[in-house]
């Protein structure tokens, strides 16, 4: 039920435009794959198409917030500032991943190690911290250059947390080669759903498991006083 409920929320405001952009990205992606352009020599176009296809659904909340909280005449500029920061981070991530890909993909044992490292990262508390940070609402000023500066910083911060939490999975997509589109589709579904699950206390756990109510808030104080209840 909840993917449908999320979709209803997603289609509001600028959500439709984002989903259209994503659809365009998938079409380009499909064309690149059918044209066998998933070789390392075509990394740049592949990477840009992946960002276009996968990022918009992840940004429904952020773009929606900027749309709602910016002055009407500055909305597009503010969103542009945000996207500059966000896409900038992902382009840098592409450069890094491209280099790693070139080193890893020559040897199946390196590939196995890379997959194992990604699996560990997916279950780590550090990754959960990055996912939690994606939920945090920043303070954005409304007027002038300060508004654009805040949006740019918001875009960079979101891009960094996003690259840290989803980048390793994107690397997995790049490794998939012949199954690129299928793996990319699976990763897109997982990262999008995961993005909209409530924040959770960082800890080692399998991803996507439902949050437990006994993940207590971060209080750390003393022990019991007198008791009037049965032990």
């Amino acid at each position: 039920m909840w993917p449908r409920a999320l979709l209803m929320v997603a289609l509001r405001g600028p959500g439709k435009s984002l989903l259209l952009a994503s659809a365009a990205g998938w079409i380009v992606m499909a064309w690149l794959v059918t044209d066998h352009r998933f070789q390392h020599s075509h990394f740049t176009e592949l990477w840009l198409a992946m960002i276009l296809a996968m990022a918009p659904p992840l940004l429904l909340r952020e773009i929606g917030r900027l749309w709602r909280t910016s002055l009407r005449r500055l909305r597009h500029l503010t969103i542009g500032s945000f996207l500059s920061g966000y896409v900038g981070v992902w382009l840098l991530a592409g450069v890094v991943l491209s280099s790693i890909l070139a080193w890893v993909s020559v040897d199946s044992s390196r590939i196995a190690v890379a997959v194992a490292v990604i699996a560990i990262w997916q279950c780590s508390p550090a990754r959960q911290r990055c996912l939690n940070a994606c939920h945090r609402t920043p303070t954005l000023r409304l007027f002038g250059t300060t508004a654009q500066w805040d949006s740019l910083r918001y875009g960079v911060a979101t891009g960094c947390y996003c690259a840290a939490s989803c980048g390793p999975l994107m690397f997995l997509v790049l490794l998939a080669r012949d199954y690129h589109l299928v793996v990319m589709g699976l990763v897109a579904v997982v990262t999008t759903l995961e993005r909209y699950l409530p924040a959770r206390r960082p800890g080692w756990r399998l991803p996507m498991l439902r949050g437990r109510s006994i993940e207590w808030p971060d209080y750390s104080y003393g022990d019991a006083g007198s008791v009037r209840y049965a032990p």
């Binding site: 002055l71 409304l142 007027f143 960082p202 439902r210 971060d218 022990d223």
Partner: protein
Amino acid sequence: MTRVRKDVWGLGPGWNDTLLWYAKAVRTLQSRPVTDHTSWRFLAAIHGMHPTVWRQFGIIRANTPLPTPALQSRFWNQCQHQSWYFLPWHRGYLAAFEEIVREAITTASGPEDWALPYWNYSDPSQPNARIIPDAFDLPTLPDGSDNPLRVERRFGDGTTPIELDPSFVSLDALEDDLFPGGDGDIPPGFGGPETVFHHGPESDTTNGGLESLPHNVIHSAIGGVAPGGNPNDWRDLGLMSMPITAALDPIFWLHHANIDRLWNAWLRDTQEEHVNPDETTWLDGPADRQFVMPRSGQGEWTFTARDVLDRIAPPLDYRYDDEAVPVPVVERRGDRRMRRLGAGVGAGRTREREDVVGSRKTPEPIGASDGPVRVTGSTSASIQLDTSSTRIMRGNLERAAAAASRPEPARVFLKLEGIRGTSDAAIYNVYIGVPLNADPADHRDRLAGTISLFGVSAASDPNGPTAGSGINQVLEITEIVDALHLSGDDLNHLDVRFVPATAAAAGADFSIGRLSVFKLGG
């Protein structure tokens, strides 16, 4: 058999049968181990529980056996706040509690038609309405045994008996047009903002109208802070001040019965055509879990909003002795506004209904503070308004005053975004446009609203369900902005004044990420 929930003050002062049986049942439930689904502590933990806090408060010991993690996960910490599930979830919670209490009462040969009383603190015809019913303060029951309804961690404003300020029992929320919140939680809605999840990260965490006032404010006002205590330290807060301890106070249930009654009263305002949401996302939500309550036997009851809409039918099967609209509409909001602006009476009425029944409008920000605001004690802040937006708004106000047939000018809302802190018991009055050296108490017409920080600690936890984004509060300031306009103010900026509404709140220390002003429609 439909049972009748009665006004607690209407039952008479001191011990009456209803409260006496309630007290005895509370004692029975408190004697049960926390692993028992029908124990006082298990039921309270369904609303909220934190082991460290419960140990500190003496609710459990370090070695107290707790239910299995699976059971805790299934039942505990379910409470719905800053969400449109707030009202239906609490209705189901109350019904489950009432059934378990009644079972304890009938087992002790008490009346089979016992029903939970409600505390109508807003009743203008009852002189004692705002005073906590005295049975909750008496040291003993008539038989001389300890009174389980009396709670030491119920600090209020430090005086006994606790008496609520008139502004804390305001029923302004009943004027809200729509149940769900609008786009960006403008307006916040009578029942709260639309959320997909149990705790909704996909939207802001904004209090709905009824949840904000009187619900939250009553929580903070009753719980309060220990005399001489630190309002920013949870160890000094009363049970009612925090969601993770609130349901341990027996007055909690009477308070929520009244909130539940007010939901029904709002729906009965047929003149205003108030209706519940009909979206399946509300009727069958939330998306990520089912609500589940224990029953008096070993069974459990899962429900959604759809299952608690008919109160007369089983399993709810109750009604209130007074279900009338508490504040009959003398003059509708739109009419009142247009009259004050100088337009013809009745003009705003038609327009307002069109706005409500028709498609929702999208709010637009027209001003904001220049960064976060730290509030501690009486605090002033300034909001810069966008001159081109306010020029259009002023023009619309002037034209609306001149010609009754024009659409209603934009409504204006103040949004306190990202309130973070640890002072759950803090209650503040928020004023707009009070002159710098003036006493806000002399300018009640500039009171935008009364806010409570109930739940702020959990919402400020960086690893909590909202990732530390804090809570939001939306206050309608249309009439204040209209008055400023009529007084010749150029609306280039708004002065906001936060004034502690209780002595304890004066020491509270919290921050607000941004003070924003939105216009809706117009």
